[in-house]
């Protein structure tokens, strides 16, 4: 098997960037929403839960389509963000990252929720009696204790972002160097005669990246678990 072409390298680099940014950007909102869903009872909680799960339930193409409508240049949110903050998603790599982040969001949130649910609330109480404001308690007790869940969520989010295709290509198309991630490139290969080689090549690259990511995450998880295990 030959090496990757420059365009393929571009796609690989882009995919890594998109997946990393998607994972990183969804982390804080993911933790926040997981905490809300797991710990708070508020009006609209059920609805929020459903919304978070939608990217999983709906075909990716539909998600991409909603994104296109909502976050496109002429979409209500897209227009607002572009005007107010100059953040443009449409047909930019940022849009690909947004699509990937959203597709991975339910996975991230679920993993973190599971971890939050298994935190011993008595430890949080103990921290409270020692004078820690609830925000501090979250920061110095809850957060360290849910690190395994956060890591698992990040793995899922990153892996999903590496494989995400439907929503991304629907939302931001597949422009080489800007929005053509590995899955888009693989897709294009599968659509033409003789593309199998290219598709396999990129598939292998994906697998190698995911091996590296998993290895890293396991290493992190082991370190963290050793600290957390009671």
């Amino acid at each position: 098997m030959e090496g990757l072409s420059p365009e393929e390298w571009t796609a690989v680099r882009l995919s890594l960037k998109v997946a990393s940014v998607a994972m990183a950007a969804s982390l804080i909102p993911g933790i926040a929403i997981a905490f809300l869903l797991e710990r708070r009872r508020f009006w609209g909680r059920q609805a929020l839960d459903v919304v978070v799960h939608l990217p999983l339930v709906l075909p990716p193409v539909v998600v991409g389509w909603f994104l296109l409508i909502g976050f496109g240049r002429r979409g209500p949110i897209g227009a607002f963000l572009a005007e107010q903050f100059g953040i443009v998603f449409s047909f930019r790599w940022t849009g690909a990252a947004l699509a990937c982040a959203i597709m991975g969001f339910p996975l991230l949130v679920r993993a973190i929720r599971l971890s939050i649910a298994s935190v011993d609330r008595k430890l949080e109480d103990a921290a409270g009696t020692l004078g820690a404001h609830p925000v501090w308690v979250f920061g110095v007790v809850t957060l360290p204790l849910i690190l395994p869940g956060i890591i698992a969520g990040m793995v899922l989010s990153f892996a999903k972002a590496m494989g995400e295709f439907g929503a991304t290509i629907t939302f931001v198309s597949s422009i080489p160097g800007e929005t053509q991630t590995i899955p888009s490139a693989i897709y294009a290969y599968t659509q033409v005669p003789g593309g199998e080689g290219g598709a396999m090549r990129l598939t292998l690259v994906s697998i190698i990246i995911s091996i590296a990511a998993l290895w890293l995450s396991e290493w992190l998880a082991r370190r963290v678990r050793r600290r957390v295990q009671a």
């Binding site: 496109g72 290509i169 888009s184 005669p193 003789g194």
Partner: protein, 240 residues
Amino acid sequence: QSRDVVVFAAASLKNALDDAAAAWMRDNSGRRVVVSYAASNALAKQIEVGAPADLFFSADLDWMDYAAAKSLIKTESRVSLLGNSLVLIAPKGSQARIDLRPGVDLASILGSDRLAMGHVNAVPAGKYGKAALEHLGAWAGVKDRIAQTENVRAALVLVSRGEAPLGIVYKTDAVSDPNVTIVATFPESSHRPIVYPVALTKDSANPEAVAFLAFMRSDKVKPIFEKQGFTMLSRAGSGS
């Protein structure tokens, strides 16, 4: 500093268009063509919401018509550039001998097996295939035995892997796969002409795009497209 030419093209055009773009870039060093390959419908919708495309190269007429109806393209630039033909294929070594004449009985050949083809409402090749089968009076017999795929290449794979004993794909796809044999070619009269229309988008202000479109209409690219099995439509014009 000239901008890149951004082409939104149906994914099935990848090989042909990559080669054409390479040829153009060789001839006009410093200019770049960037092609985003995806499904025609996605591309049309994207152009509708303001995608930075200069050219839209659709795999069928429906989505070009959609774009035209929404005034997303410069109608005067629209041209039906490429043609293709539809064939019936079988796995290599298949003994099937079929003459695609009106009244042809595909159902008995299929037996309990499936006929692989693109989605008959969604995928261009599926739509053409359905029309052709209807034209030949074979649709009723096979309509419950169809395995509809997301794209025509997937139908090819199904036949090539031996999952389905028969499939309907483009000739361009069939000739490239050594694991399938073309059993018969659908008569051109049995379906609407298979054309790949291309047009400049309404918002495109890139002169290079005009130049690239002109290049694609020139004789220079003819061998490139024909090498991939397409026919250059000589009657290139308004093309609907």
